[in-house]
């Protein structure tokens, strides 16, 4: 079977990473075109990509291109999904699909109307450790699930101009953790309570966002969950997960560049965690693209759907409301036809 022709729309930081991964690590794909307003043609040529264009339509019009990877700024995701769906392309889109549940619902409708697949960039669902944890939980290795814990802390604070267009910490950052709760538990988030503060950088607070948060949640299966977030650790990318239940506790620890332990006079030292999401989730970023291509080629369902994107954004929006109004908030499930709003 020939590799599937793929186009990448938007080649910022994450789009560049996906392009490199597609070219080097995804044998099921052949990157035929990249589109971005400030496209670097030499870069594309060096990767053996035939078409480099500022115009995404050039790529969408190409009948040979079967699948697109959308990595534009988040604000343009829905529009690009709609156009790609109308052009009959299979779609991989970075998270968040949109900041508002309504917009995601529209994207899902467009995809369904066109009869194409949409996979969302919840990369953690393809991390070997997190997958193993999810399998264990769902196979009952911890017995009845009582609690989940996610520690997600970035190595270094983002630039303030990024913060102001990120959609806020819950939609930009915590959204991965909210999806992880759903992925690990196989259950839905019913209620969230969020506290947050700007403790890392007052400028983040001045821009209207937070950089430190604790989000607790109650799942439909009764389990209680904790997410803790920071925008700056100084010691690397801190990614830890825990599932506790009636039969025990499973934990996922940080990955380190090496396993050397140094026993020295001032103390015992080991490597700090891998420095950023690029290194920590390298396998997962490759895995999600390969899984997407397999779904496209074999006609099987994708592992991170538009509905998953919608559910995570709904939970993030509830967390945002909880923070703003300082109260626990029930998650409004559009898909389940739940009523609007809702304090308990």
């Amino acid at each position: 079977m020939q590799p599937t022709a793929v186009g990448v729309i938007g080649v910022g930081r994450i789009g560049t990473m996906h392009t490199h991964n597609l070219v080097r690590h995804v044998p099921e794909a052949r990157v035929k075109a990249v589109a971005s307003p400030h496209i670097d043609r030499d870069w594309a040529a060096a990767l053996g990509i035939p078409i480099a264009t500022p115009d995404p339509d050039e790529l969408l019009r190409d009948p040979e291109i079967e699948a697109v990877v959308i990595t534009t700024p988040s604000g343009r995701h829905v529009e690009m999904i709609r156009r790609a769906a109308q052009a009959g392309k299979q779609i991989f889109c970075e998270k968040p699909v949109a900041f508002e549940p309504q917009a995601i619902a529209e994207a899902i409708a467009a995809v369904e109307a066109a009869g194409v697949r949409l996979q969302v960039g919840f990369n953690r669902r393809f991390d070997p450790s997190i997958c193993r944890l999810a399998e264990a939980v769902q196979a009952g290795e911890v017995g009845r699930l009582h609690s989940l814990r996610v520690i997600n802390r970035d190595p270094r604070r983002p630039p303030v101009d990024f913060v102001s267009r990120s959609g806020g910490m819950f939609l930009d950052f915590t959204i991965h953790d909210l999806d992880t709760l759903r992925f690990l538990s196989g259950s839905e988030i019913e209620e969230v309570y969020a506290v947050g503060a700007a403790l890392v950088d007052p400028n983040i607070g001045a821009a209207g966002d937070i950089d430190t948060a604790i989000v607790t949640a109650r799942l439909a299966n009764g389990a209680l969950c904790v997410i803790d977030n920071s925008r700056e650790t100084h010691y690397g990318y801190d990614q830890r997960f825990e599932a506790f239940g009636s039969k025990g506790n499973l934990t996922v620890d940080n990955l380190k560049p090496t396993t050397v332990t140094s026993y020295l006079k001032p103390g015992v030292y080991e490597d700090t965690p891998l420095p950023s999401f690029i290194e920590r989730y390298q396998d997962a970023f490759i895995g999600e693209l390969r899984a997407f291509l397999r779904s496209v080629r074999e006609g099987t369902p994708v592992a991170a759907t538009g509905e998953d994107a919608l559910a995570a954004v709904e939970a993030a929006v509830a967390a945002r409301t909880s923070l703003a109004e300082n109260r626990p908030v029930h998650v409004t499930r559009r898909a389940a036809g739940a009523a609007e709003g809702g304090s308990r």
């Binding site: 009845r144 100084h234 009636s246």
Partner: protein, 340 residues
Amino acid sequence: MNEIIVGVIGAGRIGTLHADNLIRMPGVRLKSIADPLIKPEAWSRRGVEPALDPAVVLDDSEIAAVLICSPTTTHADLTEAAARAGKHVFCEKPIALDPVRIRQTLAVVEKAGVKLQVGFNRRFDPTFARVRQAVEAGEVGDVQLVRVVARDPLRPPIEYVATSGGMFFDMTIHDFDMVRFVSGADVVEVHAFGAVLVDPAIGEAGDIDTAVVTLKLDNGALAVIENSREAVFGYDQRVEVFGSKGSVEAFNESPCQVRVRTAAGVRAENPLFFFLQRYQRSFVAELEAFFDSIRSDREPPVTGHDALIPVLIGIAATRSMREGRPVAVERQQRGRRPEA
């Protein structure tokens, strides 16, 4: 140095533990122990005078310090009686579940001019003391996040649940104190999610067995406590303080440090089974600190204020869970004269 003569009231599990530690402790002499269910031979054999009536301890002018290890409902009365008798008092937590009652007791203690220390033993655990030291020395910078995991190995008997005052007062109270201790900050607001996931009988008794409690601290930091009444693998006691320069984390302790590697996997020892094993050293250290404060006439390291605050946090947590909203912790200024 003069020997401190000590009496113990209450010879249950924790009273016996303290008494045995006192017997081995230099610089102190355990003279008598009182309990309505006392087994006299067991104590005579140890060289300790057994008594049925606490008055035997309280009326003994030779006794300078008393440990109150009786059931919780008697703590306040006995602490006051001991203070009025001019004895320094070490009281197990909590002094009472009613803050008004605690304040009365603190006023009596203050008027009597005796020392009072409350049994928040975990502060004296070498591991958690080191966490506090790292925070105090600024190793992690400004505190931003605190997380406490505290899980018991085995669900308590239902009769115990009914008289415990509820999980927040019986179990989480240690974690409220731990958050205050390691952060050096006070708790201003609490939100609690609670559930009955371990044992439906606990729910029928009106309590919970699983909880996630979020706390806002007065220095702006955020904290979270995770509790369960039953972790089948052992006593799960972990703390992390995360700050502007990094994080300090305390892990579980095991009886020994081995790894068994086979084709089936790599197996390490479970954590120490329960608090008697895990906090063995802390129970000795808290008493040594109490006697040091008597000898040097300094404020004990766990004060009456420290005894009161976790109860106020527990009240806020209980109300939060019941009403489904965050609840402010009643303000109580440090060093404020308690109303009599």
